[in-house]
Symmetry: C2
Subunit: 216 residues, 2 copies
DNA sequence: CTCCATTGGATAGTGTTACTCTCTAATCTT
DNA sequence: AAGATTAGAGAGTAACACTATCCAATGGAG
């Protein structure tokens, strides 16, 4: 397929596809002449991924470039990809050693092994530090609750990563991390809305709801 | 306190404070003369909140304006605030009725009550639809897992909202929703990194880890 | 073979967002 | 009286993500 068809299949305007090509986000097509190149399904998929990372995960193009580089780099494993590749908000601020220590204690409590250059540690420390500065501190108890919930969730997620093919595995991991984040956030808000509503109507008993869905 | 001190206490440059005042993000100080106004701690807190919503939650200024309007509006309850106020990514795309139906089924399975104009329903549908288009569909089974985890988390969170004071309650709910999102995301990534690492080293047994933190 | 649409490649322009700067006149401090 | 600070208004700027225009080469229709 060539440019017009690629644009049509992906829903991305021709001018923007050219821009992504220039920017190195989209690999070039197979040149068939001086003014023609052939694209294939992989280009369509890549374009859709770029748009999803931008629109749904809210990444900027330089972050998307970084993510794609990791996906394309055959030498990175899933764990490395998860640890270093995904840095959605750049952590530029000061470290705040107190928050950093709290994060390290959390990691130790759960006996997690985390790469020393993992951005996730910094972004968590930063978020906790900001919550402190807003006089809305996060108790360790609540952190552990989050860790428990996320550990369960992550276990199921990692189980669903294909193990046969490295490329598919890393792509699955990256998509499953970055693009599922808004899914989790939305579900959390829906649950908060429900529970908040339930408290208002006087139904104050806790843990009464089934832990498993109805009619499941 | 006046401008210079407000700027110093909040860490926001004078020019930016003036810009926020003009933009209606920061309420004006009490004017003491034609070229002077008095600010107080509430202005410092508001500025810190604005920066946190922008830097940590990634909201744009118009979204922050909307959030602040809800916080300031005495007539909105917590549930309303959670349902409608928080629309971090504007859902402008087409509806995709299939994804919408999946979300409605999820909500019904869990017997959640959701406001008919809740943005959360749309943003979840949009995220699911995008995952489909990436050939990375989200099974209902996994959605239920997420719902279970988020229901547990939300229950603890809503319990921690103060009930005596409406203003503090809504602020707590909004901060606890928007600014805790990156906390959850970071913890999820740390857990994913750990579990992914564990799978690599051949420790394939599931659910072996303590559900409660060590030394807790 | 001619003619016109399409393409690759390059460059320049646009709209949005979030500030940042400059200026003026009034006022405060010393 | 003099220098600094401020409110308020407007213009300027930097980053980002496109979007438009141009050109020469090519491909396909007739």
């Amino acid at each position: 397929m060539q440019m017009a068809e690629l644009s049509g299949a992906s829903g991305v305007p021709v001018a923007t596809v050219k821009f992504y090509l220039r920017d190195g986000l989209l690999p070039p097509g197979e040149p068939t002449s001086a003014t023609r190149a052939a694209y294939d399904e992989s280009h369509v998929r890549r374009l859709r991924l770029i748009r999803a990372l931008a629109d749904v995960a809210g990444l900027r193009l330089d972050q998307i470039r970084h993510v794609l580089a990791v996906v394309d780099d055959e030498s990175t494993s899933c764990a490395e990809a998860l640890g270093t590749a995904l840095m959605p908000r750049t952590a530029d601020a000061g470290p705040d050693p107190e928050a950093r220590r709290r994060v390290d204690r959390l990691i130790r409590r759960w006996r997690w092994r985390v790469g020393p250059d993992s951005r996730n540690r910094d972004s968590l420390a930063r978020a906790l530090s900001v919550l402190d500065s807003l006089e809305h501190p996060m108790p360790d108890e609540m952190l552990d609750r989050y860790a428990e919930a996320m550990h369960q969730v992550a276990d199921a997620e990692v189980s669903s990563v294909p193990t046969d093919n490295r490329d598919r595995a890393v792509l699955h991991a990256v998509v499953g991390t970055l693009l599922v984040e808004p899914v989790l956030a939305s579900i959390r808000r829906l649950a908060q809305e429900e529970i908040s509503r339930r408290r208002l109507t006087g139904r104050l008993r806790k843990g009464r709801r089934p832990r498993r869905p109805a009619r499941g």
